[in-house]
């Protein structure tokens, strides 16, 4: 047993097969994802750096406290729904990969379809959130007078509250907030969007029986890696914008 193990270890690097025991496509998908994680990392760290350089930032519990069809104050509620949708679509994806290992076409189709629906659900949630932020206007005390501002890349109505003419109004908050929020969640949303497109292509190819003919479902695995990466990035976006 031991000698067999030793032999296989030397053989690993003596040519003829992948020393990492993965195919070229999967290997390159991993390295692409690593480079993509540096892009996201740079964005998030730049956000953190700017946030630390200011005396005040916005209070996320007041910016993100709305839920569709209600005016109630529900901090964290909508974004947790988005998080659950994305985690769930990650599970359906990994189950699709698992069915692919078993060469079960029907199973792959079922779980891929659910994954695509999860992705579309997430994108719809994000569309609602962006629309709400960009169109919902708030009273802001600017230059001694009341103005109505929405949350955009150039306007931030979430500064500290002051009393003006006997009522509590907000003052302008740091301008950087909108740019970072829309920039980073937009970049992530774009990844989700391309992920949905890739998954749809994989679903169609599965239905047409391409992978069954090829004899393996490795393309589903590669699409799955990308999809899980999108989920992984969301975990950090969720942390940086909504939790801390």
């Amino acid at each position: 047993m031991e000698t067999a193990l030793a032999r296989s270890k030397t053989n690993l690097w003596s040519g003829g097969k992948s020393p990492f025991n993965v195919s070229y496509g999967k290997l390159m998908m991993w390295y692409f994802l690593m480079s993509d994680s540096f892009t996201f990392g740079a964005f998030l760290i730049s956000y953190g750096s700017i946030r630390f350089s200011l005396n005040r930032w916005v209070d996320h519990n007041y910016v993100f406290n709305k839920f569709p069809f209600t005016e109630a104050n529900l901090p964290l509620a909508f974004v947790s729904l988005m998080t659950f949708i994305l985690i769930f679509s990650s599970v359906t994806m990994v189950l699709a990969v698992h069915e692919g290992h078993k060469m079960n076409r029907k199973g792959v189709e079922k779980w891929m379809l659910l994954t695509i629906l999860g992705g579309l659900g997430f994108l719809s949630c994000q569309a609602w959130e962006w629309t709400h932020l960009l169109t919902h206007q708030h009273k802001v005390l600017v230059d001694g007078a009341i103005q109505y501002w929405a949350t955009t890349t150039s306007h931030n109505p979430w500064g500290p509250e002051v009393i003006f003419n006997g009522e509590l109004v907000r003052t302008p908050g740091p301008v950087a907030f909108g740019g970072y929020f829309f920039g980073i969640t937009g970049f992530h949303g774009f990844h989700v969007f391309t992920g949905v497109i890739i998954n749809t292509v994989m679903y169609i190819k599965t239905r047409l029986g391409h992978f069954q003919q090829r004899g393996h479902y490795e393309m589903i695995e590669k699409a799955g890696l990308y999809w899980h990466f999108v989920d992984l990035v969301w975990v950090f976006v969720f942390l940086c914008f909504y939790l801390i």
Partner: protein
């Protein structure tokens, strides 16, 4: 080994794999719910008259650690990186170590920038602005 026993082994292996996937899902779900609970705790502490900022910072640290745990489960179970060859894991893991330096340095940089601005590069002591009612209004183009 007969064909039936091989088949039986494959089926148990298959079940174990599916079980592992769902287990990872439940762990992620529970960690997310704990994070949400802690987030709401911070929200409620902020509503109070004198929030304990050290405690809030501590809770935020716990949330960060839970997030790292979630990232570990996604990468090792969902992306199956835990099942790959060790040298391959290292080719991804070692470059990722740069994040440790990256995060510390840039947050330190931001913090230093704030101190320099607050004290005009150390030429005066920092006086914290207390919110007045009504506060001096900010000009349209002014940055804070």
């Amino acid at each position: 080994m007969s064909a039936t026993t091989t088949n039986a082994i494959e089926i148990t292996h298959d079940e174990a794999q599916v079980k592992r996937i769902w287990k990872a899902f439940w762990i992620l779900l529970v960690l997310t719910i704990i994070e949400l609970g802690l987030g709401l705790t911070i929200y409620n502490m902020d509503l109070g008259p004198n929030p304990n900022h050290v405690l809030i910072l501590g809770i935020k640290g716990v949330i960060c650690i839970l997030t790292l745990a979630k990232a570990f489960y996604i990468i090792s179970i969902f992306m199956h990186l835990g099942d790959e060859v060790r040298s391959f894991i290292l080719t991804l893991g070692i470059p990722a170590l740069i994040f440790i330096w990256f995060i510390f340095v840039f947050i330190y940089d931001g913090n230093s920038f704030r101190n320099l601005r607050n004290t005009d590069a150390g030429s005066r002591p920092y006086i914290e602005k207390v919110e007045q009612h009504p506060a001096p209004a900010m000009k349209a183009g002014e940055k804070n």
